[in-house]
């Protein structure tokens, strides 16, 4: 089958499946409406119209879908290549993802209705119909995809996209449901003085939050604990771990922690006069911190445990985590410093500016509270993780300096700092020139470039510090590293310092094999000069697999094949 015909059949199968599904939803919805929602005769006209539309969609959509999908399935039966084709994998996973989301959203509505005591007037016939129809479509395509077994790399990748997207969505629903439920319970506590009317905790909002805990929990548990188990070699799993769960958990927790500290400092400075309403924010911020910390810790531990099973990832997993957290820390630190620097600059502006007619006491303390809360959260995080990075550099040497995550971190920060500086300096020069040329060089010039000055003052030291780190890395040859080779070192003792010497010198880990024969009482000690010569030999070897023999006699570097 040609590619165009191939695409044609899949697109039409998708469209006709949509028509069939809409017809089924229509008829099921009508049935539920009639049975549960007590239809009256006045609505008989609506029933007929809906019935006609549903039947029409089914009698047109069903044969067409059977025709196109049947053709695709017959073609797949004739050619086994079809099962692993990118188009089929895309079609199946697209249908699975869309139907899964539709079914889960509809299930949420049904669970809310169930928890509300099965009130007929709160029942959503279309929700129940969508749940049944989308659930059936999901199950059919999910079973089909599983049975085919994802025989190609693209089929496996697209299947993973489905699994990790649903796992991520489930985790978000689960955690936000927990935070909202605790918040609703906290606000409903009879401790808030001054409340004259208090609504019941068991309302539609709390039922919806509990429903999301249930639905999200089921989706997450099914996709993460069952579907994604043992998928250790997946790059998408690493993205899920580090960029979604660990980084997302850290950001969520830090935002909630910063807000909590900010509100407490602000209140201690005299802001937020109504203590009752003011401290209700703890209802969401504390559970958010706890849930985010749990997500962060659980995924971090899991990522590290899995990395232990794959040798190449042992160091990189830890490294990625350190750099991500250091990046978060320095981002928040820079934000806090910029806001903090705004206070003295603002004081200068106000000492020159025409009369201030309103200046509440909170103007200064609010800015101070926000900047201090950012600094209180960010400084320990950045210092802790950056000192870990410095220790890694000292322990691993060139291996660490040449690491990709280190370069992404350093060049990322330098890039952001350079772009920020460029934009700010353009504004500063523009404001000065514009003020001079229009003969309007007054306080407005300073006011208009105040934010730019704040960011310039902070961006410069950040740029200089990270630029010096990059310069040192480059000076020590982090980018001159020779092509990575598969190096095996045969020696008497696997704890020999020669191994870490090679790691540092080559910029990557070498493997060690222990000599199985009898070791001499006093094995030959290798000098640094000799090890350096061997490292040069490894680099200059044309073979990609190299064995270094560090036994008695002269050390040798030999190419080999597995």
């Amino acid at each position: 089958m040609s590619t165009v015909r191939h695409v044609f059949f899949y697109i039409l199968a998708l469209i006709t499946l949509g028509i069939l599904a809409a017809g089924v939803v229509n008829l099921l919805s009508l049935s539920f409406d009639t049975i549960i929602s007590n239809f009256t005769l006045a609505k008989v006209g609506d029933i007929r119209g809906q019935l006609s539309l549903g039947i029409a969609m089914i009698i047109i959509g069903c044969p067409l879908w059977l025709l196109f999908w049947g053709t695709i399935q017959r073609q797949a039966g004739r050619s086994s290549d079809e099962y692993g084709s990118a188009l089929r994998a895309f079609f199946l996973n697209f249908v699975i993802i869309v139907s899964a989301f539709s079914a889960l959203f509809a299930l949420d509505g049904l669970v809310v209705w169930l928890m509300g005591g099965l009130q007929p007037d709160e029942f959503s016939p279309s929700g129940a119909a969508i749940f049944i129809t989308a659930g059936a479509i999901w199950y059919y395509h999910w079973q089909l995809s599983r049975a085919e077994g994802h025989p190609t790399a693209i089929a496996k990748t697209l299947w993973r996209w489905y699994v990790y997207i649903l796992a991520a969505a489930g985790l978000v629903w689960l955690t936000s449901g927990i935070v909202q439920t605790v918040n609703a319970a906290f606000v409903a506590l009879p401790i808030w003085q001054g409340d004259i009317v208090r609504s019941s905790f068991w309302n539609s909002g709390s039922r919806s939050s509990l429903s999301w805990i249930l639905v999200g929990g089921v989706a997450w548990a099914f996709h993460w604990l069952y579907m994604a188990r043992g998928d250790l070699n997946s790059s998408l799993r690493q993205v899920y771990f580090y960029l979604f769960a660990i980084l997302g958990g850290a950001i969520t927790g830090l935002v909630a922690l910063t807000q909590t500290i900010y509100k407490v400092i602000y209140w201690s400075f005299g802001g937020g006069r109504d203590i009752n309403a003011y401290y209700q924010f703890l209802g969401w911020s504390l559970p958010a911190i706890l849930v985010a910390a749990f997500i962060w810790f659980y995924h971090l531990r899991m990522a590290e445990e899995e990395a232990l099973q794959i040798k190449d990832r042992r160091l990189s997993a830890r490294r990625v985590h350190y750099y991500l957290m250091a990046f978060l820390g320095i981002g928040a630190l820079v934000s806090g410093l910029i806001v903090l620097l705004g206070i003295p600059l603002d004081a200068i502006v106000r000492s020159i500016r025409p009369e201030t007619v309103i200046a509440g006491p909170e103007w200064w303390t609010n800015q101070l509270s926000w900047s201090l809360s950012l600094l209180v959260v960010s400084i320990p995080i950045w210092l802790y993780y950056w000192s870990r990075v410095i220790n890694m550099v000292q322990a691993e040497g060139m291996l660490e300096r040449a690491a990709r995550s280190r370069r992404i971190y350093l060049f990322g920060i330098i890039g952001v700092a350079v772009v920020t500086l460029a934009a700010d300096l353009v504004n500063v020069v523009y404001q000065i020139l514009n003020g001079l040329l229009t003969a309007n060089f007054g306080i407005d010039v300073l006011v208009n470039m105040k934010w730019s000055l704040q960011t310039v003052f902070i961006a410069v030291p950040v740029l200089l510090y990270h630029f010096s780190a990059v310069r040192k890395d480059l000076k020590l040859g982090s980018e001159k590293a020779a092509p990575r080779k598969n190096v095996m070192v045969l020696l008497y003792d696997k704890n020999s310092p020669a191994l870490s010497f090679f790691d540092n010198k080559l910029g990557y880990k070498v493997r060690a094999a222990q000599y199985a024969g009898e070791a001499p009482d006093n094995p030959t000690q290798r000098s640094d000069e000799e090890l350096e010569r061997l490292a040069d030999e490894i680099n200059s070897s044309v073979a990609s697999d190299v064995m270094v023999i560090l036994l008695e006699g002269e050390a040798r570097v030999l190419p080999y094949k597995d």
Binding site: G270, G272, G331, A332, I343, R350, T356, V357, T365, L464
Partner: protein, 155 residues
């Protein structure tokens, strides 16, 4: 001590210095009274209106607004108070400075710069600045604000 450690130490000392200066400014600035402008002047009227809004005394603030003419511009007390709902829960802090004021017989205009501080993410300036021109009309001995009557500049 390595040069990078010295750099970090220097930067840390600089941060501490900025924190100390900022705390001093915040403490002094919070206790700094503003000059009260004459009551029957356009500037004094704007100042009292803004003070009432800051103190959430909306009934008092409403007294500084001129009655709106025309059926589509009715601005009763309850309508105006309900239109200020959004500003009531705002945790933002703000200041106002008069930059220019013009009086022509019974009409006046007062240009005010209102700066609003609102804690937000790392990429935005948390202080937004609005230039608001208050138009006033003299009614007997007092000045009343004709425009703007809503608090858009606070959002």
């Amino acid at each position: 001590m390595s040069s990078s450690s010295r750099f970090l130490l220097g930067f840390g000392i600089l941060i501490l210095a900025i924190v100390a200066i900022s705390v001093i400014i915040a403490v002094i600035g919070s206790n700094q009274p503003v000059k009260i402008l004459p009551e029957n002047s356009p500037e004094g009227t704007v100042q009292r209106f803004l003070t009432a809004v800051r103190d959430r005394d909306y009934t008092k603030a409403y007294d500084f607004l001129a009655p709106q003419a025309g059926t589509d511009k009715t601005n009763t007390l309850d309508q105006w108070v309900s239109s200020t709902q959004n500003s009531r829960n705002s945790t933002s802090s703000w200041t106002a400075s008069i930059v220019k004021s013009t009086v022509n017989d019974d009409n006046a205009s007062v240009d005010v710069v209102i700066e609003v501080f609102r804690p937000n993410g790392p990429l935005n300036d948390p202080v937004s600045s609005n230039n608001v021109t208050f138009l006033l009309q003299k009614a007997g001995d007092v000045w009343l604000i004709q425009q703007p009557i809503d608090l858009w500049w606070l959002y």
